[in-house]
């Protein structure tokens, strides 16, 4: 079981703050593709990703118990 957190725009799109799913073992890239298909979340491709509060890249493998945060960049100012 892994814990997925959505922030900012993605939280609204997903309609929820978090998700608990059986996806340990897949990479961030695979996870993004799965979320894109299942939840139709936009722009996941260029979304920053953190595993257990540390940013990481798309080829990282998630392991059991990890918390994965998806953070869409904010551009206003």
């Amino acid at each position: 079981m892994i814990n997925i957190l959505f922030f900012a725009r993605l939280r609204e799109e997903a309609g929820q703050e978090s998700l608990h799913v059986e996806k340990a073992g897949c990479t961030i890239k695979e996870l993004k593709e799965w979320l894109d298909k299942e939840y139709r979340l936009s722009g996941l491709n260029r979304t920053m990703t953190a595993v257990n509060e540390e940013f990481t890249t798309d080829d990282t493998k998630v392991t059991e118990g990890d918390t994965i945060a998806f953070i869409p960049p904010v551009s206003g100012g």
Partner: protein, 350 residues
């Protein structure tokens, strides 16, 4: 009476030594919108020695709800933000030396100004500028404080050349589909919170408290109460074109920025015909006066067209308010402005 910095010197990590450093530091703020205004005010109150302000825009009524340096009298659409900001800031602290540039700064200008300052603050509203700042920061070894806010969300992060990964490493290229003030609106507590995070890091840096630097990207949403730091130390890419072993600073090389852009948070199109384009202002005024009321000051000329408002800057740029449509803006430019244009070779005014 106690002196103006007494309560700041009383804060142990700053004390008299840190205050002295602050008083002789030079900060560059790129953009005098919401975040730029807020950071500039905090730093000028704190006693920063010199401040370089850069902004290409004029103050509009829709800026007032979140841009803390401007009052109603500035918001007629003819006063450049950098000028209005400087005026208010000098009333707050007449000892800070403030350089205000009314300028659509691109790679050339930023490359020139970056090495003159101790730290740069991102007060911009787009990643085009941020990637230029990032390249200039890495090239000249100048730290910079990224900040962005939209809706009730904000993020902030200090990048330290040679000591942290850079923006390019972190985002792995220019992001798209980002949250803008146009789409999501913006509330002032989100602005002040983001600017506070940026300013605190800058204050640590210029007062010599480098061991206290956060070295995390903070993301918050002040409406739903989340506030979360994220580490990014493992994101360093050895082959990063901006900070890797053989950097190319790609965003400092791009001269061909898009000529026509829609501005974040306002129903406005910005046209930059090129650094060497200028106008015959008497001719332009004579021509425009046939179509609507013309006003002018030393920075720009404005004209109220039937459904749009046109602002032509002396440095060649045009703002067309009242449209989000680049094609409509282009047509307006051709119809009303282009015939008064001429081309000269000129140094960027830095």
């Amino acid at each position: 009476m106690e002196h103006r910095y007494s309560r700041q010197e009383q804060f142990a990590p700053i004390n008299k030594e840190g205050q002295k450093r602050l008083l002789s530091s030079h900060v560059l703020i790129m953009g005098c919108g919401a975040l730029g205004s807020a950071c500039a005010e905090m730093l000028v109150r704190a006693g920063v020695g010199a401040l370089t302000l850069i902004d290409r825009d004029v103050v509009e009524p829709s800026n007032l709800h979140r841009q803390n340096l401007y009052a109603e009298r500035d918001a007629g659409g003819t006063v450049p933000k950098a000028e209005a900001a400087k005026e208010r800031l000098q009333k707050i602290n007449s000892f800070t030396s403030i350089h205000a540039y009314v300028l659509d700064a691109g790679p050339e200008q930023i490359d020139k100004l970056a090495p003159q300052c101790d730290v740069m603050i991102d007060g911009s509203d787009n990643f085009d500028i941020r990637f230029i700042l990032n390249d200039a920061a890495e090239k000249h070894g100048v730290p910079w404080a990224f900040g962005a806010a939209a809706g009730s969300v904000g993020m902030s992060c200090l990048f330290l050349p040679g000591r942290t990964p850079c923006l390019h490493c972190l985002m792995q290229g220019m992001p798209d589909g980002t949250m803008t003030c146009d789409a999501s609106g913006i509330i002032s507590p989100a602005v002040q919170m983001t600017a506070s995070l940026q300013t605190a890091e800058v204050m640590k840096l210029v007062t010599g408290n480098t061991e206290a630097l956060h070295k995390k990207l903070v993301l918050f949403d002040i409406w739903n109460g989340t506030h979360q730091p994220f580490g990014f130390s493992s994101m360093k890419q050895q082959n990063c074109p901006s900070c890797g072993t053989a950097p190319e600073f790609p965003y400092l090389r791009k001269k061909n920025r898009s000529r026509i852009r829609t501005l974040c948070g306002s129903n406005t199109v910005h046209i930059h015909p090129g650094a060497d384009v200028h106008y015959n202002f008497p001719l332009l005024e004579q021509h425009l006066a046939q179509h609507g009321e013309v006003k002018k000051n030393k920075h720009l000329l404005t004209c109220m067209l039937p459904s749009l408002r046109l602002a032509v800057f002396t440095d060649g740029r045009i703002l067309i308010h009242g449209t989000n449509n680049p094609e409509e803006a282009e047509a307006v430019y051709h119809h009303y402005v282009e015939k008064a244009a001429y081309t000269v070779e000129k140094e960027p005014e830095t």
